[in-house]
């Protein structure tokens, strides 16, 4: 094959790649690239920063490849220099050891900064609200300890308020993911992981399970509806007045493997989430495995409760995580 033909093919690939990348920039179906809250926003910025930094390497390298392959092709009459013994240059090698080191250092800085940032409440001005998430075979159960209501396969939240999710499972591992609001966290039995998300504006956001858990896994999807604070409060009142309370028996029914519809409950057995976590806590110190959520807020000023929450969060940066396998 001639070098020219080769080069045209390489150009085709580059265009194909760029075309796809550009396509990803538009359209609301690209959930990850349409952040609707501060957490997703932080992650979106990191995606952009990292894309630019790696592009600084890959674009010149691909261009250089095309150039070298074309220029030094083995055709009669190629006048480019041919130096079969030239195989070392300290200057050049130092340069390309250093370039990636600099890129990794830069990227490492942004990465580490945001890793710590995302462990905290993204919105320091507003006290967070707690929602507990339990992954079941193959459905999501949400319990609102402050409102004492529960839902299955759908989630309603107040817009503009950071939500502190405590995530666990009474089934094989799942991952709780609402791309437009921010990245995911694993739902694991015997632990309660923590994730802050916030919706800046009212809207409906798609939520997924992104860790394979068996037969009904593909159906473990839900919608998150963010509403203005008053509407959310009205919705809670409505739920209180019109839906049944969840009993232990209801829960036992729910946790059986299978796909179900959406449900809403006006109440749930007290401490149910803590019990689910403790069930698989097998003898660990339970304060360590599971941090107690604040008591149901009811009519109390929610400010007090949330300060309480934040203090606890600081002292246990990582509730529910069993360190033994990682840190020691």
């Amino acid at each position: 094959m001639s070098g020219g033909k080769m080069l045209r093919h390489i150009q085709f690939w580059i265009l194909a790649v760029l075309g796809t990348v550009l396509l990803t920039g538009c359209g609301s179906e690209y959930l990850v690239l349409n952040p609707k809250g501060p957490v997703a926003e932080t992650q979106y910025n990191l995606i952009i920063i990292s894309t630019i930094l790696v592009a600084v390497i890959i674009v010149p390298v691909i261009a250089l490849t095309a150039f070298i392959v074309y220029r030094y092709r083995d055709t009669p009459g190629n006048k480019a220099s041919y130096k079969p013994e030239w195989a070392h240059s300290t200057t050049l090698e130092v340069i390309w050891w250093i370039i990636p080191i600099v890129i990794v250092a830069l990227l490492g800085y942004f990465t580490v900064r945001d890793i710590y940032l995302l462990k905290e409440n993204p919105n320091k001005e507003v006290a967070p609200m707690t929602i507990q998430v339990t992954a079941l075979d193959w459905k999501w159960m949400f319990t609102y300890p402050e409102q004492n209501i529960a839902t299955v396969n759908h989630l309603e939240i107040p817009a503009g308020v950071p939500i502190r999710f405590q995530v666990s499972a009474d089934a094989p591992m799942n991952s709780f993911w609402v791309p437009e609001l921010g990245g995911q966290i694993y739902a694991m039995a015997g632990m309660a992981t923590e994730l802050y998300l916030q919706a800046d504006e009212p809207g409906t956001f798609a939520g997924f399970s992104s860790n394979f858990s068996g037969e009904g896994f593909a159906k473990m999807q839900f919608n998150v509806v963010a509403k203005p604070k008053e509407e959310f409060d009205n919705w809670v009142k409505e739920v209180k007045g019109t839906t049944p309370a969840m009993t232990k028996a209801d829960y036992e029914e729910l946790r059986k493997p299978g796909v179900t519809d959406k449900f809403t409950y006006s109440a749930f057995p007290e401490g149910m989430f803590e019990e689910i976590v403790a069930k698989y806590g097998h003898g660990h110190d339970m304060d360590y495995v599971m941090e107690k959520p604040p008591a149901p807020a009811g009519d109390k000023s929610s400010n007090e409760t949330s300060q309480n929450t934040q203090q606890k969060t600081e002292s246990h940066n990582m509730p529910g995580m069993n360190h033994s396998s990682m840190n020691h």
């Binding site: 070098g3 093919h9 194909a16 790649v17 179906e29 690209y30 990850v32 990191l46 995606i47 990292s50 790696v54 592009a55 390497i57 890959i58 390298v61 691909i62 070298i68 392959v69 092709r73 083995d74 041919y82 130096k83 030239w86 070392h88 050049l92 090698e93 050891w97 990636p100 080191i101 990794v104 990227l107 490492g108 990465t111 580490v112 945001d114 890793i115 462990k119 094989p172 591992m173 991952s175 990245g183 995911q184 966290i185 694993y186 694991m188 015997g190 994730l195 997924f208 399970s209 992104s210 394979f212 858990s213 068996g214 037969e215 896994f217 995580m321 069993n322 396998s325 990682m326 840190n327």
Partner: protein, 656 residues
């Protein structure tokens, strides 16, 4: 009685799916055909003497190659079935269970039963030749490694028609892979299939480390060793540290399932996250184990087809050794999203990015090997050139995934799927194919047809981008791996359809390659020189196909790229011919024990899979009997007389 048999058969054999009945029929037909051909042409004795009992590293390499190509076919069919299922929303081609089994076996087969044996094929076909050695350090163990791999792979593969395939993902995470959620033999097939072949892989790792360190031709210092052999050394070091972890992890999972232990259960004191840590402590180095030898292959090919010395030899060696070490400190990036502490995530994020540095250095070195060279576009070089942009993009998305907070958004999504296919296909598959095209004449004595090969090449390459670029986009759209279906409302349909088209293009590329091999056996250009590419390293100094003892006279190595230096000296007239002195050659004898012992291991695995302890016990007794027999075998080697060496060389057109 009849009812009992019917009952047993319906649980033992997988029933109820027309696709599987079709497979049953084709398996039985091909078995009958093989038996018929072997009997009709009286080839049973030949098969036993020449292949089943061989300890010749080149033949073992060829068997690895055939096995891996078959597995590439099976893994590829799995991939196409999945892509068909996902081509349109709400397709009901495969149900959830069947889909889960197919993606599980696709992953396991491609990594463990396709990439690994293709890598071992190249180790066996090339390393001793490149070192100027007559065999590997432990030829008997080498044969045993192959048969353990083969029978392990067979055990895993029959799960498809007997008992039911594993369906908990290619790494079989508990608690999903525990009895409670995965009853039946599927996961047991997984555990024992991998366990048995894994023992073989570990032995191969040890074998090649010793071969490289102890069997190099006189004068070949490590600093003059060809880069492919260096890459094999790096890969084997990773194997001997990583595979014991896999063995223990699978053994513990088996104890959970078989003996009611609680290592990884949700309750009873078990911890599933411990399994994730352990399996990725093996699994992450594993991906480097398969990709580093490809780096070695590219280094050989780039130098040969640019007619130029490899650029930055020392950097290349350092880069591969650094990768071998750092690969053991990155495993937790596979579960950044498990909510561990910020400092742990930061450590693994940074160490993952660091792997990109030596890899990037290697790319520049390859480019500058081509720089001021003369590049000829033969098939091995085509695949090498195609590898560079593909791997650079794949590596870049890998660095993007290492940015932990961004990974919270990519984790388990199609962005990830596209990334690892890009590095594994772009790096491993392209690399091994390049290596196979490159060394094919040395093993078989003829070249593979260029024209058909180029058709295959373009279908593979264009198909690759059509298949996987849309998957990056799907990741941004929120599509997660392992969904067997999705609705129209998600907006994922277009990209999935395009991706499916690309997958089929790669399938067509594979068909061209099969055609190419079949065509070339008959019409391929014969290699009479032994050096069809104008190579640089020792393997090109002997005739093609290489005689069973490799080197009639063991070469004295003076320089890096010794064969190239010899050719140059001959051209300049400065070459001093030293009188060759033939001596009787010491060779190992063939043995049937590796084959028989591996079959007993199969019995062990099959017995434990179905909980038939009696069968496993028989298997273990057989295994120990084989070990016993071998340890009292004293007559294991012989000498090839000088006259026979002279005759063989003459028949290959050489005067010695």
């Amino acid at each position: 009685m009849w009812e009992n048999i019917k009952d047993f058969a319906s649980t033992f054999f997988v029933t109820g799916d027309p696709l599987i009945y079709g497979a049953d029929v084709s398996i039985v037909l091909s078995m009958v055909a093989i038996v018929f051909v072997l009997t009709k042409y009286k080839k049973w004795g030949w098969l036993w003497r020449e292949w089943l009992t061989t300890v010749d590293h080149k033949r073992i390499g060829i068997m690895y190659l055939i096995a891996s190509l078959l597995m590439l076919f099976r893994g590829g069919v799995d991939a196409l079935l999945m892509r068909l299922q996902l081509a349109f929303p709400n397709v009901e081609f495969l149900n959830s269970d069947h889909y889960n089994a197919i993606f599980t076996t696709h992953g396991t087969i491609m990594i463990l039963f396709m990439a690994m044996p293709m890598m071992f094929a190249l180790f066996n076909m090339v390393v001793p030749l490149q070192l100027g050695a007559r065999d590997v350090a432990y030829p008997f163990l080498n044969a045993l490694s192959f048969w353990l791999f083969m029978l392990g792979a067979m055990l895993f593969n029959i799960s498809f028609v007997i008992g039911g395939s594993p369906d908990a993902g290619w790494l079989s995470y508990p608690p999903l892979s525990q009895n409670e959620f995965s009853p039946g033999p599927g996961q047991n097939f997984y555990i024992w299939g991998i366990q048995i072949s894994g023992i073989g892989s570990l032995a191969t790792g040890i074998n090649f480390i010793v071969t490289i360190l102890k069997m190099r031709a006189p004068g070949m210092k490590l600093s003059k060793m060809p880069l492919f052999s260096w890459s094999v050394l790096s890969s084997c070091i990773m194997i001997i540290f990583a595979f014991p972890i896999l063995t223990v992890t699978l053994a513990l999972l088996f104890l959970d399932r078989f003996a009611g232990a609680h290592f990884f259960t949700m309750d009873g004191g078990g911890n599933p996250m411990m399994y994730l840590n352990l399996i990725w402590m093996w699994g992450h180095p594993e991906v480097y184990i398969v990709v580093v030898p490809a780096f070695g292959i590219f280094s050989e090919i780039v130098a040969t087809f640019s007619r130029k010395k490899i650029f930055g030899y020392k950097s290349m060696v350092w880069a591969m050794m650094i990768i071998a070490v750092v690969s053991f400190f990155t495993w937790a990036h596979h579960f950044f999203t498990m909510g561990t502490s910020a400092s742990v995530i930061a450590f693994f994020a940074i160490s993952t990015m660091i792997v990109g540095i030596p890899t990037g250095v290697k790319v520049f070195n390859w480019l500058f090997t081509m720089y001021r060279g003369r590049i000829s576009f033969k098939q091995p070089m085509l695949w090498t050139i195609a590898f560079i942009p593909c791997f650079v993009i794949g590596g870049a998305t890998g660095v993007m995934l290492a940015v932990a907070p961004a990974d919270y958004q990519y984790h388990n999504s199609y962005f990830l799927v596209a990334h690892f296919h890009q590095v594994l296909i772009g790096g491993v598959v392209f690399g091994y194919l390049a290596g196979i095209y490159y060394w094919w004449p040395k093993l078989f004595g003829f070249k593979l047809d260029e024209k058909l090969g180029k058709w295959g090449f373009w279908f593979w390459n264009i198909g690759f981008y059509v298949c996987f670029m849309p998957q990056y986009a799907l990741g941004f759209m929120g599509m997660t791996r392992r969904y067997y279906t999705y609705g129209w409302d998600r907006g994922w349909a277009d990209m999935n359809l395009v991706s499916t088209v690309g997958a089929f293009m790669m399938g067509i590329g594979f068909i061209f390659q099969v055609w190419q091999i079949a065509y070339s056996i008959k019409n391929g250009e014969r290699d009479t020189t032994g050096d069809p590419w104008n190579g640089r390293t020792l393997e090109w100094s002997i005739p093609s196909p290489a005689p069973f003892y490799n080197f009639a006279v063991v070469p004295q190595v003076k320089e890096m790229d010794d064969w190239w230096a010899t050719k140059e000296a001959k051209a300049n007239g400065t070459y001093k011919e030293e009188p060759a002195k033939l001596e009787p050659i010491h060779m190992p004898k063939n043995s049937g024990i590796p084959f028989i012992m591996a079959n007993f291991w199969f019995l062990v695995g099959f017995g434990f899979t179905f909980g038939w302890v009696w069968m496993a016990v028989i298997g273990f007794i057989g295994v120990f009997a084989c070990m016993w027999a071998r340890s009292f075998q004293y007559d294991t080697d012989y000498y090839v007389p000088v006259e026979e060496v002279r005759r063989t060389e003459a028949s290959l057109g050489r005067v010695v």
